[in-house]
Symmetry: C3
Subunit: 341 residues, 3 copies
């Protein structure tokens, strides 16, 4: 009986948000109604196979210019849940270096221009999903999102980002889904969400931090605080609206959610300045929070970014987060299929 009701709710929600047109999924800006998309994802979590035939005779191609585990598996699973064929293509490994520069004389290492490759992928597939990473060397190039924009320009079919040079929208959408799930179990009206920088052993992209900031701001239902050491300022394009504090202890006070993540510097681009181990989130600093749920996009360097005590404790919701990746991408693929006939 309970299952029947939740199915009914799922169907109603699904029809309510049919107005949402999703032509691509590159950033929070592509989504007109985040809450509706969250509810769609949670409906799929309740009933994964409710749209088993939506993707019949449809095909998604997943192009990985960089390796991936969760993103790859969750996308394959979501596509299968919708009855779509899913083809994985690991670009680097399979020996296919792409050229992105216009008018290039291709006498070097690149073997194919995106202008020639993308239109063909557009003929082979109904949806194209792409994973690229930043160079972390040339900020202007990375922040112009050259790679994924060229694919969008030349493929002629809906493109889904599986992480790009500056954003990771499927991760951030999952994060909002997970926060929503937790809020449904609590009495918190407007949560305090803290994004905190953490130490790491090498310079990482700003994608997850940028993207989380963009989505939390677009969602607009929290007090959002970002904390990081001096020199780790993120781009205002994404953080605008958040309170930024350099004192982690101060920031953590009364937090309901703490999102832990390392990133390299944005201003003096791609560098590691301080790597102070005090920024590792351990139990003592966590105790300053309002019994906060701790989030991380994974993979996590244990006892570098976050202590065992946190990750193995009840406050950690990282497994729940990662498993929600499936419902996030399933909701996105579903809306794209419906929006593009």
């Amino acid at each position: 009986m309970r299952r029947k009701r939740s199915l009914l709710v799922a169907q109603q929600l699904s029809s309510q948000i049919n107005f949402q047109i999703l032509k691509q999924f590159i950033s929070a800006n592509d989504v007109t109604n985040i809450d509706a998309l969250v509810q769609k994802a949670l409906a799929y979590k309740t009933d994964p196979f409710s749209d088993r035939s939506l993707g019949t005779n449809k095909r998604i191609g997943c192009l990985f210019l960089n390796p991936s585990m969760r993103t790859r598996l969750s996308t394959q699973i979501a596509a299968q849940n919708l009855g779509m064929e899913c083809i994985i293509f690991n670009v680097g490994q399979e020996g296919w270096a792409l050229e992105f520069e216009d008018e290039a004389i291709m006498s070097g290492n690149t073997v194919e221009h995106v202008k020639d490759a993308a239109p063909i992928l557009g003929k082979y597939f109904d949806i194209l999903a792409i994973r690229t990473f930043p160079s972390l060397k040339n900020r202007e190039d990375d922040y112009s999102e050259l790679y994924i924009k060229q694919f969008i320009k030349y493929a002629g079919i809906p493109v889904v980002s599986l992480e790009s040079a500056t954003l990771h929208p499927l991760q951030s959408f999952t994060d909002i889904i997970t926060i929503t799930e937790e809020l449904q179990k609590s009495k918190i009206k407007k949560p305090k969400i803290v994004l905190t920088w953490a130490p790491h052993i090498k310079p990482l992209p700003q994608c997850v931090a940028n993207s989380f900031s963009q989505w939390v701001n677009a969602w607009g239902k929290s007090d959002f605080v970002i904390t990081h050491p001096e020199d780790y300022e993120l781009s205002e394009e994404f953080t605008k609206g958040a309170t930024i504090i350099q004192d982690q202890e101060e920031a953590l006070k009364d937090a309901d959610f703490v999102y832990v993540k390392n990133w390299s510097t944005y201003n003096d681009y791609g560098k590691v300045y301080t790597n102070d181990p005090k920024w590792q989130l351990k139990r003592k600093r966590w105790s300053l929070t309002n019994n906060a749920k701790v989030m991380h996009c994974l993979p996590v360097r244990r006892n570098v970014e976050l202590s065992d005590a946190i990750l193995d404790g009840k406050m950690s919701i990282v497994t729940q987060q990662a498993s929600n990746r499936v419902w996030a991408v399933q909701a996105v693929l579903s809306e794209i299929l419906k929006s593009n006939g």
Copy 2:
């Protein structure tokens, strides 16, 4: 209504060519009626899922001894369109070096003999598809097609070439399909087709050029001209019947189709002699043609083999060509399934 009629035509064609027995697909010699197979491919282009259950409970294994993008993706897609299971196996990457020499004492780098591997693949699959490349060092070995012939000998099931040491039949069949499509739009009765050598930065196989020559000759419906610099003669086994000219401008005159491709030398095997940039097809030389459609198997080195002006112009049909790869392999797999019960 129009769709109904084209479906009807597709069904009629499909039954008309049921007499065609396709036991393997290694070269043009395996096909008794090229035109009928072309029509079958074009019928699938009109209605990709018309044989959705032909491959039920059938399985194709695709063995890549060398990397591939278009060939791999188009084969996966075609198999799925026919309802077949398709399994990809990248040999090199997955650490499995094969021995092909008889009576070898296997105390070196090879870990498995084709005599042991192929029969098992023959048990696992209904069709075996294989991609190998030439050494470009030993012409006799390459031109004996040792690798693919050993697989045919020991697998005991139909074998499809996804490109071999000297031929690329799925590419060439696609090329004939694409030329046929273009001719249907025009009033040309007997087209002039020119295969022209182009510069490249490294020595490439002769496969695409050999195979295109073999198929165009076997098809027999064109004036076929091959043009290349001195020393780049191809094997007469494949070119016999074509007019061979060393003056590119002369060759291009009044051409209806120009196929651009680099290859290394055949006589003094696997070398790069001249690499004269004048052989790059640019707009000026193209203007000598009869408004020719320009073809290339891709990937193409822009501004080395072909200029941007050609590739981005209306004369280029390279995307159409590459997208036709799906229908070519779908027609081949379909005929093999029907021929082998």
Copy 3:
């Protein structure tokens, strides 16, 4: 008519062994009734698609920490035969080094702890299949089966070994299936089975030899003899019950089955002591047997482990063995699906 009867037998067998609860498949100890599982596999060989819908909406993830050909392909095929989705994930290649040590400070090369990775795989899949290899450096670590045990501990779903540090249960189960098939064709009541060491060019794991010994002993229907040069003793944990002889000729006398396999030393762990070519099984020594069937798990180094004359002769059943891998894993997946709802 004959087919109908064998189908009926298959269905009866299938229902008879429904009592068998298979929660995981790591060693012979997980199976309560080997013969019943053998009959189930042989029933699938007769009718591969008899349980085509058993795996509907179920998903198996196959994690390869080491490369594989037969194991990978047979698992994909078996899963497809049961209507399951199967996702392959090659760990090494896709850049994801796992940490297995508790309380590790992860500032080195490992990027994710099994404590974080396994629970997510447990959420994504219904069954998790894993391939790992031994280090051959630290015997205690290898023989504690740390890797696969950690996955079992943290995944929370049934785990199937695709070969672990010390055992290869799907191979050994296949071997018992193949021996059973051969016995059905003969009048032999209690066969003499000989496992013989063979030379190789590098130190190999003891997995196949350990596992074959464990399964033959657990099956209990043979006279089981192991023969190897001095210093190549295996762990008594697996060999107990077998007769161990260091004279190969003596051991081979009147054998009905000879299983040929190299392994490195167990006591002075992971070494190659003697590599005497006399231990290569050739026709002359084989003639001491009772026209024995010769088995090998493949890949085999021809003319190092076994001579061409044996592998190409009627006594070799290595292809039959390898093709039975499909039915072995299909029986195991089927029982796990039934045991775990």
